[in-house]
Amino acid sequence: MATATFRIWRGDANEGNFVDYETEVSEGMVVLDVVHKIQAEQANDLAVRWNCKAGKCGSCSAEVNGNPKLMCMTRLNDIPLDAPVTIEPMHAFPPIKDLVTDVSWNFEVKKKIKPFKPRPPDAEDGTWRMAQEDIDRVQEFRKCIECYLCQDVCHVLREHDLHDKFIGPRFFVYAAALEMHPLDTENRLEDLKDTDGIGYCNITKCCTKVCPEHITITDNAIIPLKERVVDQFYDPIKKLFRIFRPQK
């Protein structure tokens, strides 16, 4: 059985450093398996978040050799093992311990987005009718597993630290899922423009590249939302129209 070296960030909210662990690796292993093996055999207190181990829950996000990844879906076959493999926590969030970061900000952001508000039911029995074509594009956004890798890689959050002015790609996807929901009647455009900071996104598409669910975040969610915001607030003809007939 081959051995390889894993350089794992160990530390807490105040300080930390990389520690090298050498361990045996075998066919089919993913990075999360290695972390668990090291945890069980060499460092019982090595902190890591995980749940499903099948790419469905979005818990085990980290940076492997500098790339934002789900550790459970990153196979060792795809990484060169002749040099130490670095595993470190996401950079866009404060560290808690080892590979675990404080992602609570994301939960607060979500709570501030106006919730789903459906139109009255279509049928007498209280149900709705929707065509599959009309829900296909929203279903893409609803594949999101909330791993926050898109948040981690977004330079507005990662480099500029604008967490109080910008909700990040995950929540533009969330807002798009609500805005484009065939039954929804709420309007979130003013919030998107003012408090959610959609204008800060300059479409570098880093988020789309790292999404493990392959959601086309920029093209399908953020750009259409930007267009709707422009349409409502910056279209000169519509603006004139509003001056004479103010809308609610």
Binding site: D45, N51, C52, A54, P115
Partner: protein, 604 residues
């Protein structure tokens, strides 16, 4: 004096998967204050893994469906050991619970006329599972989460409860720790709902994550509640078997629902070899009829791949044991063959089973549109659990409720696929509703300081023993032992050995040691989880010894008959005796109501 934070609620819900979230939403709607404790981050619980769909007799695809058929299917699947009252409530209320999710924003796949689409699944007579591709669980937990966060519920993420608190014979709260700093929390509550899910982590090969250590079962048992039918552990027939690191990860039954077939190393469709008597009239005679069934032919009967999970799992084990397995000790599950039947099959498979396609491509280098998968049984679900009142979900301990997987009764000896997502909605709601009612009718109890001190010092004990045994090693040894001795094939000898081993492992776990401090320390968490895992392992072994028959998910090599002569239909009941020992007894299942018996007979 031990340090802890205190939180007070009318209703405390422990567990934030589908059942816990649904209970919290309902309790909050009843106007009481609600705390929700989850072991992981919100939205990560095991509900997220559910793939195939939620069973509800909406009759959108086949108008012959209705609650009576769903009820009869559930009872037949459970070998009539189910709580008939729960099966009745479940079949009647599931459609409303699904429609309610749509009102909260869920987007299920649609029929041509714009209603919720339904698919075939094992043991369900008609297409009954509302679904979203093969990620139904994600859709459901996200909708419940996104709706729930606006209902005024106080959420405690990454917090683990290690003991319930009791006073004057009723539950008055719970004691736990938060993971980040390892600080203790005391929750004082007028009513507590357990919604902690399953026990899969006691086994080596499982579809369950680290969280599923039987916490709710064990908390309830130690608080004096009864556990029933713990021997019925569901081994899902199709888990991944290769590579080793993904062994046990679930392959949805939806693959078979879409026409996937099981074959052995000789290329035979072995599921045709043996059809159980209960299902003879409902199963197709030849592959062609089975295929037509999966494609919606209303006159065709189901292919044998869609028989109940207990049966399919046993057939797979038989093939492997008799030397007809796949290279890595499973059998083949093939969906790619449908290209013989339909054009554009590859695209069809990717659209219908996107996450399965993704999972095999990424983890096993297998393109399921072109080649078969290798699959084998994996520990998936426990039908047994905390005994509850069918209507209110209250346990035998006043003020303590249970819903979802940790509650028991609905599924009898075997659960049908799709019936757990509906179970957690129907009985999660009921648990929340009746817990709120209990809270309104009963004042707050008094939390006993001495009890807190005792639990806290027990919780910190592993730190006094840094040189003690590695808790992960004890867990591995438990998992190996349960897999070998209390797995799919059981016997008196194996189960008695298992009880001896559990005793030894319990002694070892008392000596487990922890390195490091209390901050986010998985070694410590595992040392504490061992207590729950060992409790439920013993309950499973003891109940399995008591049922000297092979029925549903419980198979005994030494008692192959379905019923013990003269024993009648009974539940096994596990409880803590006066001297603190675990004891098991049998209790006859109450006679079914006449009108429900008539429904079963009518459905053949």
């Amino acid at each position: 004096m031990v340090q802890y934070e205190t939180h007070e609620y009318d209703v405390l819900v422990i567990g934030a998967g589908g059942a816990g979230l649904r209970a919290a939403i309902e309790a909050s709607a009843a106007g009481v204050s609600v705390g929700l404790v989850c072991k992981s981050l919100l939205g990560k619980a095991h509900t997220v893994m559910a793939e195939g769909g939620v069973a509800a007799a909406l009759a959108n695809v086949d108008e012959r469906d209705g609650w009576r058929v769903h009820f009869a299917d559930t009872m037949r699947g459970g070998q009539y050991l189910n709580s008939w009252r729960m099966a009745e409530l479940h079949a009647k209320e599931a459609p409303d619970r699904v429609h309610e999710l749509e009102a909260w924003g869920a987007l299920f796949d649609r029929t041509q006329d714009g209603r919720i689409l339904q698919r075939n699944f094992g043991g369900h007579q008609y297409p009954r599972l509302a679904h979203v591709g093969d990620r139904t669980g994600l859709e459901m937990i996200r909708v419940l989460q996104d709706h729930g966060i606006h209902q005024g519920v106080d959420v405690h993420m990454e917090c683990t409860v290690i003991s319930l608190l009791k006073s004057d014979g009723r539950v008055v709260g719970a004691f736990g720790y938060e993971r980040e700093k390892g600080r203790f929390k005391v929750f004082s509550a007028k009513a507590v709902v357990l919604a902690t899910g399953g026990v899969g982590k006691a086994y080596k090969i499982t579809s369950n994550s680290w969280e599923y250590t039987g916490d709710g079962h064990s908390l309830a048992y130690h608080a004096g509640a009864e556990l029933i039918d713990m021997e019925f552990v569901q081994f899902h027939p199709t888990g991944m078997v290769w590579p080793p690191s993904v062994r046990g990860i679930l392959v949805t039954e939806g693959v078979r629902g879409e026409g996937g077939i099981l074959t052995n190393s000789e290329g035979q469709r072995f599921m045709f070899d043996h059809i159980p008597e209960l299902y003879e009239n409902q199963t197709s005679d030849d592959p062609e009829e089975g295929w037509r069934y999966t494609q919606g032919d209303r006159d065709a009967r189901r292919p044998p791949e869609l028989l109940t999970r207990d049966h399919v799992a046993r057939c797979i084990v038989r093939e492997v044991q008799e030397g007809r397995g796949s290279p890595h000790g499973g059998v083949f599950l093939d969906i790619s063959w449908i290209s013989e039947k339909i054009s554009g099959a590859e695209e069809h498979i990717r659209r219908k089973l996107p996450s399965m396609y993704h999972q095999f491509m990424q983890l096993a280098d297998i393109d399921i549109t072109k080649e078969p998968m290798e699959v084998g049984p994996t520990t998936h679900y426990i039908m047994g659990g905390i005994r509850v009142d069918a209507d209110s979900q209250m346990t035998s301990v006043p003020g303590l409720f249970a819903g979802g997987e940790c509650g028991a009764g609905l599924h009898g000896a075997n659960r049908l696929g799709g019936n757990s997502l509906s179970d957690l909605l129907v009985f999660g709601k009921r648990a929340g509703e009746y817990a709120a009612q209990f809270a309104k009718e009963n004042g707050a109890g008094k939390v006993d300081e001495a009890e807190i001190e005792t639990v806290a010092s027990w919780g910190l004990k592993p730190f006094d023993n840094a040189a003690g045994e590695n808790p992960f090693q004890i867990q591995y040894d438990l998992q190996d032992m349960m897999q070998d001795l209390v797995g799919i094939a059981r016997s008196d000898e194996g189960l008695n050995n298992a009880r001896g081993e559990i005793q030894k492992l319990t002694e070892r776990s008392d000596q487990a040691g922890v390195v490091g401090n209390r901050e986010y320390n998985p070694g410590w968490h595992t040392a504490l989880d061992l207590h729950h895992m060992l409790t439920i392992s013993e309950a499973i072994a003891l109940a399995a010894l008591e049922r000297r028959a092979s029925i549903g998910a419980h198979s005994r090599d030494d008692y192959p008959e379905k019923e013990e002569p003269g024993a009648g239909k009974y539940n096994t009941v596990v409880r803590k005796s006066g001297d603190g020992e675990m004891e098991v007894s049998r209790e006859p299942i109450p006679e079914i109501r006449e009108d429900l018996q008539a429904v079963i007979e009518e459905m053949g």
